[in-house]
Structures are given as C-alpha cells and as structure tokens.
Symmetry: C2
Subunit: 356 residues, 2 copies
C-alpha cells in the first residue's frame, strides 16, 4: 500500500493529466480511502465533520468519480441503449427526445444507435450495447415480422411499434387499427363520398393495421369497400404523388384519401393541388403520425397523431421499472388522436395562426 502511494507521487505532472482518485484524496487527508468513498457517497455512518472535510478536499482537488469503476462493482452503468432506424425522421427524434429527457431525469444516459434500417447494424448494436453492459435497451426493430432475431438478449428490453416481439419482452405501440378508423370516420363525417387509401409497403404490419381500421370504418358507416381505390406503394412522398395521380385519373376517382403516413399524404396533397383541386372543399386528405412538417402553414395536414412524447415516456418508464424490479412482458397500447387541420372540411384554414 505504502509502496503504491510512493509510486503515485513520482510525478506531479501525471496527477494533472490523469484524473485523481479517492486514494489521492485519502492520502492527502491521511485517512483510509474507504472512508473517503463512504463520505463521497454521503454514508450516514461517517462523522459529519470528516465528511465535510473530505467533500471539500475532493472539490478542491477537482475529483471526478469514476463511473466505470463503480459500475464494475455495482453491476450497473446507469445508461440505456436506444436503437432506432433513423434519428433524422421527426417521428423518431421526438420519441428519442422524450426518452432522453425522462431517462436523464432518473440519472440514466442514453446511447444512441441509428440502424439506418439495416438488420445487420441492428444486431451489431444489440451486441455492442450488451458488451457495454447497458442497464436496458429500447428499440424500434427494423424487422417487421415474427422472426426472432434476438432471443439471446439478457438485458431488460422494450420494443416499440415493432412486430418483432415475443412475449418475453415489453412492448408499446399505438393502436393503428384505431387510428385508421378515426381517420376515416372523420372523413366520413366531413361528408366525403368516396374515400381511397394510399398505403406504404404492403408487407408492413402497421400499414396493414391502418388499412384494417380504414375498412372497419367504411363498413361501420355502410360505405362500400372498393379495392380499386386501395393501393399500396412505398413510404415516401414520390409514391404518394404517383399513386394519387393514378387515382385522380380514374373514371370514378375518390374525393378523399386516407394516407398510410404523413410523408405519403404530402405527395398526395401536392398532386391534388397540381390538379387544381380545392383542398379541402373538393378533396380531403388525412395522414398518419403528425410529423413535424404536418403543422407548417403551407401544409396544415389533418392527420392522426401518435402521442410520441407519451410513448417515449412510457417506454423508458417501463424499462426502468424492469431494470429495478425484473418483471417482464408488460404490454402497452396507446390511443392515437385525430388532429384536424386544413386538408379536411369543417375547418377554415388557419390564417395567421402559426404554430411551429
């Protein structure tokens, strides 16, 4: 021990460069480093006078506790991993912000992992996160099937809006069927007569759930379900534009559409505008997600909002709960909400009222 202290003092510069440890401050105060550790952790068992002295000295010396060392013994890192496809999309960044906010409030940091929709990346990240011993993982998986790509996860996990779960994991998702239903119900209440659906990929789980909601609403209100105006494509604006173009050229075109998401809706909206249609009088559009651009004055898209802030909050809360208690397999389904803006009737355009 003494030998150790000696070596420690060989170089003073060294002390400036490397961070100082509890042993350094113990030496300085000539007490055991155990006591220093206890004082710094505000243990009630240590004399309040020495505690104060230690804390002051630590501050003076610029001591910064080493969370790595602590983690090694306490077996936690106070960090969680967040795996998402694309932080650039407002849908994910809003959830990420919410997760990060409540996580940090609880003393957790979040490791951001952007898979870029790549399955291999996702697996790589899962591996890295576990090696780094994160206390838990929240992820939106790229895989949208029942494949079990991650059976060997030993870490608390919550999946969101991912089909790729089995009952061992927590998950949270919005009720997409309900969302589709609300969208179409609104369109019907606005008295549109022929409502089409422009979807994204036909093998997307959430897309199909939304379509299911669409059909249920039509049936409920005795509208016919016409497969001729239900068409899937891709989750992008171009696809929305192209499909809309096709639909509007039909002999019997729709007078409203429900789009699989806002990005698609944006393309459809633009196409309708180019056709010279008066939105919302001639034609109604509702999207899904309520992404950031949906509210800008030039767009003002009516849409179905996923409560992203709430979802992120609940996801991290679930996770922390599991980290602490080790109870698994909770499921949360959250309610989507209709947001009426300027692309559906019954609502004047939002002149001058800017909300961005």
């Amino acid at each position: 021990m003494d030998q150790w202290y000696a070596s420690r003092e060989m170089s003073l510069d060294w002390r400036i460069i490397m961070s100082i440890t509890i042993k350094d401050i113990a030496k300085k105060l000539d007490i055991s480093y155990t006591t220093v550790s206890r004082a710094l952790n505000r243990s009630p068992k240590v004399n309040s006078v020495t505690m104060e002295k230690i804390i002051q000295e630590a501050k003076k010396m610029g001591y910064q506790p080493n969370a790595i060392a602590r983690g090694l013994v306490k077996k936690y890192t106070k960090t969680i991993g967040l795996i998402i496809p694309d932080i650039t999309k407002s849908y994910f960044s809003e959830i990420a912000r919410s997760i990060e906010a409540v996580a940090s409030k609880q003393g957790y940091n979040v490791l951001l992992c952007n898979t870029n929709w790549d399955k291999i990346q996702e697996i790589t990240y899962l591996q890295m996160l576990q090696e780094k011993r994160v206390d838990g993982i929240i992820m939106k998986s790229v895989v949208d099937t029942d494949e079990n790509l991650f059976n060997n996860i030993r870490t608390p996990l919550v999946l969101f809006n991912s089909r790729a779960y089995n009952d061992n994991y927590n998950y949270i998702e919005t009720d997409n069927v309900r969302g589709g239903f609300l969208a179409v119900k609104h369109l019907i209440e606005c008295e549109y007569k022929r409502i089409g659906f422009i979807g994204g990929k036909c093998n997307s789980y959430s897309n199909n759930q939304r379509l299911e909601g669409y059909k249920r609403a039509l049936k409920k209100y005795n509208y016919p379900v016409d497969e001729g105006i239900i068409v899937n494509g891709d989750f992008n604006t171009k696809s929305g534009y192209d499909i809309m173009d096709r639909l509007l050229k039909l002999k019997n075109p729709p007078d409203a559409i429900f789009a699989g998401n806002d990005v698609i809706a944006l393309g459809a909206l633009y196409c309708a505008q180019e056709f010279g249609l008066n939105i919302p009088m001639d034609f109604g559009i509702v999207g899904f997600d309520n992404v950031s651009f949906a509210k800008i004055p030039q767009v003002q898209l009516s849409t179905i909002e996923q409560p992203k802030y709430y979802m992120g909050k609940r996801a991290i809360e679930m996770l922390i709960e599991e980290i602490k208690g080790k109870k698994r397999a909770k499921k949360i389904v959250v309610e989507p909400k209709l947001i009426i803006r300027a692309t559906t009737r019954n609502r004047k355009i939002n002149h001058g009222r800017l909300v961005i």
Copy 2:
C-alpha cells in the same frame, strides 16, 4: 483461486442470469484465464489450436466480453458524448446521424445529451459524461458568448457552431458571413431591387455574422444598406410572419428578403403568400440552414445549406484524431452552399419533381 471457482459453481441458475466471464470458460477448459483473454483478443502469441478451441467454447457458452472491465484497465470506453440543444430539430438530428454513423464505423458509441437550450443541463451533462469517462465530447453549446463555462474539461472536445470556445478546444463552424453573402448575391442576381433582412435574436453570434454577410453583399454590388428593412426578432416562424407583415406594410416595402434561418423564412413566406404576392416573381425569399421542410413541394425554399453531413463527419474525425494523438486546437470553417428552389426567380417551380 480454487476457492473462488468453487463458489462460482454453487448455483447453476446464477450462471444463467449473470453473464459468464473469461474465468468461467478458463475453468471449463482447464487453462489459465490469461490465455483465454489472449485468445479472445486474437493475440498472435497463442497457439492456434487452443485459440480456436477457446473461441468455440466462448461462443458455445454465450460469452459476452465486459467492456466496463476492459475500460477500467485500458482507460478508454470507446464512447463519445454528443451534447446538443434539441435533437428534434432537423439541423441537429442530421448532424447527429452523421456523427453517429462515422463514430460507430470506428467502433465508438455515442451518448446523446439533449440540453433543451438549458445552460444548467449543459453543465450537468458535461459532468456526467466525464464521470462516465467518455473518450471525447462533441457539443453545440447553448452559450453563445465568450463566457468560459467549461474550463475544467479534461476530455478531448470539439465544439461546433458555438461561440463559446477558447483556443484550447477544437471547433468547426460554417462560414456564416459567407453564407449571408451568397444569399444576398443570389437575390441581387435575380434582380430584386430592395432586399430586406429578417433576423433572429439580435445577440446571436451566427445571426449577426449572417447579417454581416448581407451587408457586405449589398455594399459590394452598390445597393444601399437601409436599416429600416433590417429587423431582428426571434428564431421562429411566428416572428418571421410578424416582421414580414410589418415590412410589407411599409410605404416602401422590400421586394425580397434574406431570412436569418429557414424557420423564420417559412413564416415570411406564408405572410407573403397571404398578401397575395406571387412568389418568386413579385417577391423573393432565401433562408438559411436547408432544414428538412425546406425541400417539401409545398415550400421549396431557396436557402443556404450548411453541409450538415460533412460537418458531423469532420467533427467526429477531429475528435478521434485528438483522442488518439492528443493534439488540440484545430479549427475548421466550412463553406456554405446556395440551394436554389422556388422562392427566388430564374427557376421554374419544380412541378412533379419530388425530392423528399
């Protein structure tokens, strides 16, 4: 030692729950755990047959190296911290994506810290990151002055677009003066005759740099600088809208404006549209940043692009360089780029060509 192994076998369940270590696999194979460590690190000094055997056994037992333990001895964590004000803004999320992409390619993970424009949060994060012993930090500071809030950072650091640096730290920023100059030069070339400026906060460094660029361009092309059509407000759409409204009601209103950023430009654009002005024929607008909504078909805003992907990439490269080599205080100024869309003349609207 043997005693230790014995305790290890007391419970088999335990092994399933806790992660297995190199000692476990050493015991299983009846060799020293040092050799296991070496084999797992592909040390050339270990016999290739035993190496293979060890690797197989490790895989079979589902061994996952403990990065925490390794970090404690190797003194690095292979993680970096990213401190930004708001991940929800496309400007930051795009930079974040780029940083994360190249970081992960180099074996680093990134801890996301969202300050929400709060100075206190920023300091708290700086502290947490250092306690977690990140290998380096990239940050966009909230503080936009010369205050030295972080003189006690012992970690490699690169600041981006932050005024709050001193010469001890790396930083990277876009040339805002140049950007402002390019914007106004373009407006002049489009033959607008009276060009105003709608800025954000008047104490913002980047805002003032952009204004400076604006003035330089006017002077260079012999346009008068009229303080009556230079007005600062706030960095939001509402402010852009309101100021534009005021400007258009002037007896001698501008016929074009350069906005301090895209969000402001968006409000100004909307206002001009409500005034019934034909954009871009009657009135020209150019923004700054090229955020995500600038390119949507309903907006198509001409703007000055900050090369966000490039900036993120360079930032993380600089950081890793410093982590490895310990050379400090590099400065990078990157060139902004004019993006011509539909809010300035000399360009037909992008009918049918969607790029989102």
